[in-house]
Amino acid sequence: MTWVGKSLRRKEDDRLIRGRGLFTDDELAPGMLHLYILRSPYAHARILDVDVSAAEALPGVACTLTGREVAELCDPYMQLAPGPAANIRDLPMAVDKVVYQGEPVAAVAATSAAIAMDAGLLIEVDYEMLDSVMDVEQSLQDDTVLHDAAGTNRVWHGVFDYGDVDKAFAEAAHVVRIDRLHFHRYSSTPLENNACVAEWTRQGTVEFLCNNSFPGFAQQLLAPGLRLRTDQLHIRTYDVGGSFGNKIWNYVYMALAALASRKAGGQRVKWSEIRTEHLLASGHGNERTFLDTEVALDANGVLTAIRSRHLDDCGAYTRYEPLGCVIWSQVTPATYGIRNLRIDFTQAVTNKCPVVPNRGYSRMQHLWFMERVLDICAHELGIPADEMRLRNYIREFPYETPNGCIYDSGNYPAMLDKAKALIGWDDWQKKQAEARADGRLLGIGIGTTLDSGTNNFGQAQIMNPDLPFSGNSEVATMKLDLEGQIVVCLGTGPSGQGHETAASQVVADELNISPDSVYVRPGFDTAWNTFVGHSGTYASQFAVTGLSAVHGACQKLKAEMRRLAAFMLEAAEEDLDFCTGEEGPELRIKGTDRAINYWFLSNLVNNNNAMLPESLADVTLNVRHVYRPPFKVPDTERKFGNLTLTYAAQLHIAVIEVDRETGRPKILAYSAVDDCGKVINPKIAAGQVHGATNHGIGAALMESFNYDEIGNLLTSTFSDYCPITSMNIPDVQYGNIETPSPFSYNGAKGMGEGGGGPLHTIAAALQDALFAEGIIIDDSHHSPSRVFDRLQEPNRDRRVSVRSG
């Protein structure tokens, strides 16, 4: 019996369905205080005065916090950027100036959340309005500078130049020019908002229950920010209702709750974000504009070179940025064999919510760009969509990309076949011809995308050679507990991905026991000592880093158990089998009925050890394994090296009809084929695919952060932001292929982010529907109103030109 590969029911679900989960906001304690954060209504303004006296006078208020106090008690967060942007002062609260709408300007802790809010509204803040910078191109002019200490809005600039671009253009049969493409701003809106409970104890340590999804990293920012040692922080998570990367940076709010607790004399303080705060100020996805793109193609429509200018808008602070300026290069050529690329990449700040990693982080934006480029070229050259992909796909694996990344495995043509079969490609081709004959706008689009996982933090050095990061790692600790129970602790801090279940499957196979006999502790806890700096759930890596750590811990524990059992049973280690006997898990001498069970083994070490020989003195039955993927530091000069270990792939096909009169795009059919290598738990993997697909459909058709020209967020409630709901989700035909990764012990690839497949696919289907109308799909967002506007004003002449011969 093997458990890996089975759709084992999720262990987590029992407590979640019974309402016995513990989400941060569930935590209640007598005397607990509640924090309200007052936020700036302005996108850009100087703070002249903050008067908290009326708030402090309200009964029930324990304390207030202002930016000035925070600046006295905290040090600014480490900046990753090189050059002037390194001087940006990022504190958890605005001090002299606000730079985005929703930025914290003061806070109140009170005995109830309602009192805290009432008191917050009594705080008087005097502002002096400044001009807002709402556009990345305008920002780069530096007419209005957001961060005085940096002196410029430009955060980062670099040129990624591979192959011989000019030669390829000189030899090209066709050159297609696309003057502008734009990837819009949206986010993930996890079901559970950010939240934390903090207690600044009398001993000077801080206890946190939170839902941070990258606690390995968060500690390293939080502790110095609060002027503490990391060991003075006790960070714990339990159940987390989704993160999608968005919760990586909520350490800023953890700091505010901690400071409030400190000022309130050590009372526990809870902060629980409300949805509008989440939309305004929790972190958006990167917005990117692609300018002056030129594409060289040979006579067969094979892409030979691309040159382009990319401008990334990272919002008001560089929280995780400018890492996004490099992260995209994990997938430089997308799924295509193109060898010559020159991407001139710039990032700038604007008076919008800071960006944070958001599902598909930075790669998705680039993949969308590559997909648009290929798709527009196919239409311009009259090459059918499927044919165009087949001519350009990478086919040999492992494949080294022009910038030195190694695509581990894949089979894109097989995925295309499968997706076509699922959707009924031939049938839709016929229906499309009929629809077109009737003057209807029906399009069929293909999107091929990558979900690169397990990143090499060395890529940070491409962005800033002085950064002390490289490689990657993850930890699992495992013990045989006092009564012989297998207890596993993970460093990953899951946010709904079923890690307890998947880890149990791995352990069950290694020990030849039932997953029910494996207890994986929920959540993350620094007190377990199960973390490294990379610990967390992000960048599609659990199946590789998390499970490799679990697998490694199993080997260590097994080795100890084997030695102990061999001693007690007076047998040779190699004669012992891990198996499940009548009384449960045990080690047995092959072919005999002589066995020793787990309780006996544990007892020997923990309670009854006088008989143990010196040779077993090192056995603890409590092991810790750190998995480190085999990475090297990239060549920062050439911006060259392997940046990610695994490359899961997604291939989607959509059929969309656009209502000629209203522009309403309607999905008529949708198929999604996924390849994440060896699948650990098919049900969990399918859930991730459906989730990522629906999220991407929402992003393409519904979800967008729209600002007005002075920096008001116009979509700050769910009525306006409109996250996708079950009413909007089409029937997704899901399929799967497995190309095992040669680089992970189990053949698995990380997955879950999904590479933004629907964004590429829906754009391609709309392009197919509207190309004959003279319309180039140049934006990633397509609300009906926008498609309607586009129909009124064809843009092909402005956007694209083709030179052949």
Binding site: L280, E661, L701, M702, S716, F718, D720, N728, P784, S785
Partner: protein, 318 residues
């Protein structure tokens, strides 16, 4: 519905906050309409009746409204009945959208089902009431447009006694109705549609918890020949600051043969009467295009229903 606009600095004031808890208020529960009316009169202009709370509580949480007192009317008996005789339909103000959608009346008059069942999601439908929807004066709400389509009357009771207000006079402006301070809506009534008459109400929505981008209601009576429109009412929702009674559109159809040309003319006239605002649901030009389609679609469904066809219908999503 102003939700996002709330956190929108307009250049003058700075009272935009992210809030989720209402300002403090006192709560009272009324046992009868009379008691509610006298309580409201006693408590003065800071008091509001509370029905399903699906609009009022949202306003309070966002602090658009900070009432000093809430007079809960939701449990007043006899204000939630849904009944009709051979001539007239009467719906109590406290009937919820969900109960109306599930009532025999909604089966009898499908346009009522279209509207009631298409409002928001199940949670909102099981609390929100038809009276609250009217009294809120929100042009995005579905009932006011539907009741325009059915030429309903609003039954009110206040300190000065009872009165009946035609729907056309009831909604006066954005968030403003003809209700006097302390006056309650107790119910609505409209004539039972005659034989050969049927209607349809179609809204276009982005997703369940969002109000319609635009909506159209059509109640059509066919002449004996089955091809001619004997009478018609057309109303538009989310198409301006109040629901719009599209009389010019009706004139294009009344007494005319129902065909593509006349229906198109009616749709055109309806669009001309609309004045949609620019918001995150769409640009005015888009909403007009949408209204044209919705009017046509509603007329088409109404014709089919007049002809005895059963057409399942509700809002459209994308």
């Amino acid at each position: 519905m102003l939700s996002s606009q709330r956190f929108r600095f307009d250049g003058e004031s700075t009272d935009s906050e992210t809030t989720m808890y209402p300002a403090p208020f006192r709560y009272h529960r009324a046992g009868s309409a009379d008691e509610a009316i006298s309580l409201l009169a006693e408590l003065g202009d800071g008091a509001r009746p509370l029905a399903g709370g699906q609009t009022l509580l949202v306003w309070m949480k966002l602090r658009f409204d900070e009432p000093t007192d809430l007079v809960d009317i939701a449990r007043i008996p006899n204000l939630s009945s849904i009944e009709h005789d051979d001539h007239q339909v009467r719906i109590g103000a406290l009937a919820t959208h969900g109960r109306i959608a599930a009532s025999p009346l909604a089966r009898l008059i499908p346009i009522v089902h279209d509207c009631a069942n298409g409002i928001a999601d199940r949670q909102v439908r099981s609390r929100g009431t038809i009276g609250g929807s009217l009294a809120a004066g929100d042009p995005s709400c579905d009932w006011p447009a539907l009741l325009h389509t059915l030429d309903a009357e609003v039954l009110c009771q206040g300190p000065d006694g009872e009165r009946t207000i035609g729907i056309g006079d009831f909604v006066e402006d954005l968030y403003a109705t003809a209700l006097q301070e302390g006056e309650l809506v107790t119910g609505i009534r409209f004539a039972l549609p005659p034989a050969r008459s049927a209607g349809a109400y179609v809204g276009f929505k982005r997703c369940a918890p969002a109000y319609p981008t635009a909506s159209a209601g059509v109640q059509l009576t066919l002449a004996e020949d089955a091809d001619t429109c004997a009478d018609v009412r057309i109303a538009l929702g989310s198409a301006g600051l109040t629901p719009i009674h599209a009389t010019a559109a009706e004139a294009e159809l009344r007494g005319q043969a129902l065909n593509e040309t006349t229906i198109e003319r009616a749709a055109e006239a309806a669009v001309a009467a609309s004045d949609p605002v620019d918001d995150q649901r769409g640009s005015p030009a888009f909403k007009r295009a949408m209204l044209r389609v919705l009017v046509r679609r509603a007329v088409g469904i109404a014709i089919r229903r007049c002809n005895g066809e059963s057409v399942e219908h509700s809002h459209e999503y994308y």
